[in-house]
Assembly symmetry: C2
Homo-oligomer: 158 residues x 2
Protein backbone atom coordinates (compact mmCIF):
# COMPACT_ATOMS: atom_id res chain seq x y z
CA UNK A 1 0.00 0.00 0.00
CA UNK A 2 1.14 3.54 -0.61
CA UNK A 3 -0.78 5.15 2.21
CA UNK A 4 2.45 6.58 3.57
CA UNK A 5 2.51 9.02 0.71
CA UNK A 6 -1.10 10.06 1.08
CA UNK A 7 -1.73 13.71 1.92
CA UNK A 8 -1.52 14.23 5.64
CA UNK A 9 -4.72 16.20 5.67
CA UNK A 10 -7.70 16.84 3.54
CA UNK A 11 -7.88 20.55 4.23
CA UNK A 12 -4.45 21.65 3.08
CA UNK A 13 -5.65 22.29 -0.48
CA UNK A 14 -8.38 24.52 0.91
CA UNK A 15 -5.80 26.49 2.86
CA UNK A 16 -3.74 26.90 -0.23
CA UNK A 17 -6.67 27.98 -2.36
CA UNK A 18 -7.92 30.39 0.26
CA UNK A 19 -4.54 32.08 0.41
CA UNK A 20 -4.07 32.12 -3.36
CA UNK A 21 -7.55 33.40 -3.97
CA UNK A 22 -7.23 36.18 -1.44
CA UNK A 23 -3.84 37.16 -2.82
CA UNK A 24 -5.24 37.23 -6.35
CA UNK A 25 -8.07 39.43 -5.12
CA UNK A 26 -5.69 41.72 -3.29
CA UNK A 27 -3.55 42.06 -6.37
CA UNK A 28 -6.47 42.98 -8.59
CA UNK A 29 -8.09 45.18 -5.99
CA UNK A 30 -4.91 46.72 -4.65
CA UNK A 31 -3.72 47.82 -8.02
CA UNK A 32 -6.82 49.91 -8.52
CA UNK A 33 -6.82 51.26 -4.98
CA UNK A 34 -3.23 52.41 -5.37
CA UNK A 35 -4.22 54.21 -8.53
CA UNK A 36 -6.60 56.19 -6.35
CA UNK A 37 -3.65 57.15 -4.15
CA UNK A 38 -4.89 55.09 -1.22
CA UNK A 39 -3.58 52.09 0.67
CA UNK A 40 -5.77 49.09 1.39
CA UNK A 41 -6.30 50.23 4.96
CA UNK A 42 -7.21 53.75 3.91
CA UNK A 43 -9.68 52.49 1.34
CA UNK A 44 -11.17 50.19 3.94
CA UNK A 45 -11.80 53.16 6.21
CA UNK A 46 -13.28 55.29 3.43
CA UNK A 47 -15.54 52.45 2.30
CA UNK A 48 -16.66 51.74 5.85
CA UNK A 49 -17.44 55.38 6.60
CA UNK A 50 -19.13 55.93 3.26
CA UNK A 51 -22.86 56.28 3.60
CA UNK A 52 -22.76 56.55 7.38
CA UNK A 53 -22.91 59.66 9.52
CA UNK A 54 -19.66 58.75 11.26
CA UNK A 55 -18.54 56.37 13.95
CA UNK A 56 -16.09 56.12 16.82
CA UNK A 57 -12.55 54.79 16.44
CA UNK A 58 -13.61 51.70 18.31
CA UNK A 59 -16.46 50.95 15.92
CA UNK A 60 -14.24 51.74 12.97
CA UNK A 61 -11.53 49.45 14.24
CA UNK A 62 -14.00 46.64 14.80
CA UNK A 63 -15.47 47.06 11.33
CA UNK A 64 -12.18 47.21 9.47
CA UNK A 65 -10.16 44.88 11.71
CA UNK A 66 -7.49 47.58 11.83
CA UNK A 67 -5.54 47.60 15.05
CA UNK A 68 -6.18 50.49 17.41
CA UNK A 69 -2.64 51.85 17.14
CA UNK A 70 -2.56 51.54 13.37
CA UNK A 71 -5.93 53.21 13.02
CA UNK A 72 -4.62 56.44 14.52
CA UNK A 73 -1.95 56.59 11.82
CA UNK A 74 -4.36 55.74 9.03
CA UNK A 75 -6.77 58.43 10.21
CA UNK A 76 -3.91 60.93 10.51
CA UNK A 77 -2.98 60.44 6.87
CA UNK A 78 -6.59 60.64 5.70
CA UNK A 79 -7.15 63.77 7.79
CA UNK A 80 -4.01 65.41 6.37
CA UNK A 81 -5.52 64.96 2.96
CA UNK A 82 -8.82 66.40 4.07
CA UNK A 83 -10.77 63.20 3.48
CA UNK A 84 -11.96 62.59 7.04
CA UNK A 85 -12.47 64.70 10.10
CA UNK A 86 -12.51 63.95 13.80
CA UNK A 87 -14.90 65.76 16.05
CA UNK A 88 -15.77 65.51 19.70
CA UNK A 89 -19.49 65.46 19.21
CA UNK A 90 -20.53 62.41 21.17
CA UNK A 91 -21.73 62.30 24.73
CA UNK A 92 -18.68 60.40 25.96
CA UNK A 93 -15.84 62.89 25.97
CA UNK A 94 -13.25 60.14 25.72
CA UNK A 95 -14.64 59.24 22.33
CA UNK A 96 -14.42 61.02 19.02
CA UNK A 97 -16.55 60.70 15.92
CA UNK A 98 -14.80 60.07 12.63
CA UNK A 99 -16.65 60.98 9.48
CA UNK A 100 -15.97 61.69 5.84
CA UNK A 101 -15.57 65.29 4.82
CA UNK A 102 -17.41 66.42 1.67
CA UNK A 103 -14.19 65.69 -0.20
CA UNK A 104 -14.04 62.25 1.36
CA UNK A 105 -17.66 61.63 0.54
CA UNK A 106 -17.01 62.66 -3.05
CA UNK A 107 -14.05 60.32 -3.24
CA UNK A 108 -16.19 57.54 -1.86
CA UNK A 109 -19.00 58.23 -4.32
CA UNK A 110 -16.65 58.13 -7.26
CA UNK A 111 -14.13 55.57 -6.22
CA UNK A 112 -16.34 52.94 -4.68
CA UNK A 113 -18.44 52.44 -7.80
CA UNK A 114 -15.33 52.63 -9.93
CA UNK A 115 -13.72 50.02 -7.76
CA UNK A 116 -16.68 47.68 -8.10
CA UNK A 117 -16.58 48.20 -11.85
CA UNK A 118 -12.90 47.31 -11.78
CA UNK A 119 -13.66 44.03 -9.99
CA UNK A 120 -16.85 43.12 -11.81
CA UNK A 121 -15.37 41.44 -14.89
CA UNK A 122 -13.64 38.88 -12.71
CA UNK A 123 -16.69 38.01 -10.64
CA UNK A 124 -18.87 37.97 -13.72
CA UNK A 125 -17.01 34.86 -14.77
CA UNK A 126 -18.84 32.94 -12.08
CA UNK A 127 -22.54 32.18 -12.25
CA UNK A 128 -24.77 33.85 -9.65
CA UNK A 129 -25.41 30.57 -7.88
CA UNK A 130 -21.70 29.82 -7.80
CA UNK A 131 -21.08 33.19 -6.19
CA UNK A 132 -23.82 32.59 -3.67
CA UNK A 133 -22.43 29.17 -2.84
CA UNK A 134 -18.92 30.55 -2.51
CA UNK A 135 -20.10 33.23 -0.13
CA UNK A 136 -22.04 30.72 1.96
CA UNK A 137 -19.14 28.30 2.23
CA UNK A 138 -16.70 31.08 3.08
CA UNK A 139 -19.04 32.22 5.83
CA UNK A 140 -19.19 28.66 7.18
CA UNK A 141 -15.43 28.39 7.14
CA UNK A 142 -14.95 31.79 8.73
CA UNK A 143 -17.25 30.85 11.58
CA UNK A 144 -15.30 27.64 12.12
CA UNK A 145 -11.99 29.52 12.10
CA UNK A 146 -13.28 32.18 14.47
CA UNK A 147 -14.57 29.59 16.87
CA UNK A 148 -10.99 28.35 17.25
CA UNK A 149 -9.48 31.83 17.47
CA UNK A 150 -10.43 33.10 20.90
CA UNK A 151 -9.92 36.76 20.13
CA UNK A 152 -13.56 37.24 19.40
CA UNK A 153 -13.68 37.83 23.16
CA UNK A 154 -12.35 41.35 23.49
CA UNK A 155 -12.28 40.97 27.23
CA UNK A 156 -8.57 40.38 27.62
CA UNK A 157 -7.72 43.61 25.83
CA UNK A 158 -5.73 45.32 28.54
Amino acid sequence: MEDDTMPRTTFLPVVRELARCYQAFERLSGRHIRQLGLTAGQFDVIATLGGTDGMSCRELGDATLITKGTLTGVLDRLAERGLIERCACSGDRRSITVRLTPAGQALFDNSFDAHLAHLKPAFDQLAPDELAETGALLARLREALESEAPDCCEIQNN
Copy 2:
Protein backbone atom coordinates in the same frame (compact mmCIF):
# COMPACT_ATOMS: atom_id res chain seq x y z
CA MET B 1 -40.29 49.90 -7.24
CA GLU B 2 -37.39 50.04 -4.86
CA ASP B 3 -34.73 48.98 -7.27
CA ASP B 4 -32.76 52.13 -6.49
CA THR B 5 -31.95 50.74 -3.10
CA MET B 6 -31.02 47.32 -4.35
CA PRO B 7 -27.43 46.25 -3.80
CA ARG B 8 -25.27 47.60 -6.55
CA THR B 9 -23.65 44.28 -7.13
CA THR B 10 -24.19 40.67 -6.35
CA PHE B 11 -20.56 39.91 -5.62
CA LEU B 12 -19.89 42.38 -2.83
CA PRO B 13 -20.90 39.87 -0.13
CA VAL B 14 -18.44 37.39 -1.60
CA VAL B 15 -15.68 39.99 -1.44
CA ARG B 16 -16.51 40.66 2.17
CA GLU B 17 -16.62 36.98 3.08
CA LEU B 18 -13.38 36.27 1.26
CA ALA B 19 -11.62 39.02 3.18
CA ARG B 20 -13.15 38.05 6.51
CA CYS B 21 -12.44 34.39 6.01
CA TYR B 22 -8.83 35.00 5.07
CA GLN B 23 -8.35 37.34 7.99
CA ALA B 24 -9.84 34.78 10.36
CA PHE B 25 -7.47 32.18 8.95
CA GLU B 26 -4.51 34.49 9.25
CA ARG B 27 -5.39 35.22 12.83
CA LEU B 28 -5.63 31.56 13.77
CA SER B 29 -2.64 30.55 11.71
CA GLY B 30 -0.52 33.58 12.50
CA ARG B 31 -0.85 33.14 16.22
CA HIS B 32 0.67 29.71 16.02
CA ILE B 33 3.36 30.74 13.58
CA ARG B 34 4.43 33.58 15.83
CA GLN B 35 4.72 31.10 18.67
CA LEU B 36 7.29 29.35 16.54
CA GLY B 37 9.22 32.60 16.32
CA LEU B 38 8.50 33.03 12.62
CA THR B 39 6.59 35.54 10.54
CA ALA B 40 4.07 34.47 7.94
CA GLY B 41 6.58 35.09 5.15
CA GLN B 42 9.30 33.13 6.90
CA PHE B 43 6.97 30.20 7.53
CA ASP B 44 5.87 30.34 3.90
CA VAL B 45 9.49 29.98 2.81
CA ILE B 46 10.20 27.13 5.23
CA ALA B 47 7.04 25.31 4.19
CA THR B 48 7.80 25.79 0.50
CA LEU B 49 11.39 24.57 0.84
CA GLY B 50 10.44 21.67 3.08
CA GLY B 51 10.69 18.36 1.30
CA THR B 52 12.53 19.83 -1.69
CA ASP B 53 16.23 19.80 -2.42
CA GLY B 54 16.27 23.57 -2.80
CA MET B 55 15.27 26.12 -5.39
CA SER B 56 16.36 29.46 -6.78
CA CYS B 57 15.19 32.79 -5.43
CA ARG B 58 13.13 33.24 -8.52
CA GLU B 59 11.30 29.94 -8.04
CA LEU B 60 10.89 30.65 -4.36
CA GLY B 61 9.48 34.07 -5.06
CA ASP B 62 7.04 32.67 -7.58
CA ALA B 63 5.91 29.93 -5.21
CA THR B 64 5.42 32.17 -2.18
CA LEU B 65 4.35 35.33 -3.99
CA ILE B 66 6.96 37.20 -1.97
CA THR B 67 8.40 40.16 -3.79
CA LYS B 68 11.97 39.86 -5.01
CA GLY B 69 13.27 42.65 -2.81
CA THR B 70 11.44 41.38 0.25
CA LEU B 71 12.65 37.84 -0.31
CA THR B 72 16.26 38.87 0.16
CA GLY B 73 15.41 40.23 3.60
CA VAL B 74 13.35 37.20 4.57
CA LEU B 75 16.17 34.89 3.52
CA ASP B 76 18.71 37.02 5.39
CA ARG B 77 16.77 36.61 8.64
CA LEU B 78 16.32 32.87 8.11
CA ALA B 79 20.00 32.46 7.25
CA GLU B 80 21.05 34.42 10.37
CA ARG B 81 19.16 31.86 12.39
CA GLY B 82 20.79 28.99 10.55
CA LEU B 83 17.53 27.71 9.07
CA ILE B 84 18.37 28.12 5.38
CA GLU B 85 21.55 28.33 3.37
CA ARG B 86 22.40 29.84 0.03
CA CYS B 87 24.85 28.11 -2.23
CA ALA B 88 26.09 28.75 -5.74
CA CYS B 89 25.62 25.23 -6.96
CA SER B 90 23.59 25.70 -10.10
CA GLY B 91 24.85 25.95 -13.64
CA ASP B 92 23.77 29.57 -14.00
CA ARG B 93 26.20 31.61 -11.93
CA ARG B 94 23.73 34.46 -11.60
CA SER B 95 21.47 32.14 -9.66
CA ILE B 96 21.77 30.71 -6.18
CA THR B 97 20.12 27.70 -4.63
CA VAL B 98 18.27 28.19 -1.37
CA ARG B 99 17.69 25.14 0.78
CA LEU B 100 16.87 24.22 4.33
CA THR B 101 19.77 23.43 6.64
CA PRO B 102 19.40 20.34 8.85
CA ALA B 103 18.12 22.70 11.56
CA GLY B 104 15.64 24.17 9.10
CA GLN B 105 14.56 20.72 8.00
CA ALA B 106 14.06 19.74 11.63
CA LEU B 107 11.98 22.86 12.22
CA PHE B 108 9.90 22.05 9.17
CA ASP B 109 9.39 18.44 10.25
CA ASN B 110 8.21 19.48 13.68
CA SER B 111 6.42 22.71 13.00
CA PHE B 112 4.56 21.85 9.86
CA ASP B 113 2.68 18.94 11.36
CA ALA B 114 2.14 20.91 14.54
CA HIS B 115 0.75 23.73 12.49
CA LEU B 116 -1.66 21.46 10.70
CA ALA B 117 -2.75 20.05 14.04
CA HIS B 118 -3.35 23.60 15.23
CA LEU B 119 -5.63 24.30 12.27
CA LYS B 120 -7.37 20.95 12.09
CA PRO B 121 -10.10 21.52 14.69
CA ALA B 122 -11.42 24.46 12.69
CA PHE B 123 -11.49 22.66 9.37
CA ASP B 124 -12.95 19.56 10.98
CA GLN B 125 -16.11 21.56 11.52
CA LEU B 126 -16.81 21.29 7.81
CA ALA B 127 -17.77 18.05 6.12
CA PRO B 128 -15.27 16.62 3.63
CA ASP B 129 -17.52 17.39 0.69
CA GLU B 130 -17.99 20.96 1.91
CA LEU B 131 -14.23 21.37 2.07
CA ALA B 132 -13.84 19.94 -1.40
CA GLU B 133 -16.53 22.24 -2.74
CA THR B 134 -14.97 25.24 -1.02
CA GLY B 135 -11.59 24.47 -2.53
CA ALA B 136 -13.07 24.01 -5.98
CA LEU B 137 -15.01 27.27 -5.86
CA LEU B 138 -12.02 29.18 -4.54
CA ALA B 139 -9.94 27.80 -7.38
CA ARG B 140 -12.59 28.93 -9.87
CA LEU B 141 -12.67 32.39 -8.36
CA ARG B 142 -8.89 32.65 -8.24
CA GLU B 143 -8.64 31.81 -11.91
CA ALA B 144 -11.21 34.47 -12.71
CA LEU B 145 -9.36 37.04 -10.62
CA GLU B 146 -6.02 36.16 -12.15
CA SER B 147 -7.41 36.42 -15.65
CA GLU B 148 -8.19 40.07 -14.90
CA ALA B 149 -4.88 40.75 -13.19
CA PRO B 150 -2.36 40.88 -16.00
CA ASP B 151 0.66 40.22 -13.81
CA CYS B 152 0.58 36.55 -14.63
CA CYS B 153 2.56 37.73 -17.63
CA GLU B 154 5.95 38.44 -16.16
CA ILE B 155 7.05 39.94 -19.43
CA GLN B 156 6.69 43.59 -18.49
CA ASN B 157 8.89 43.20 -15.46
CA ASN B 158 11.57 45.73 -16.29
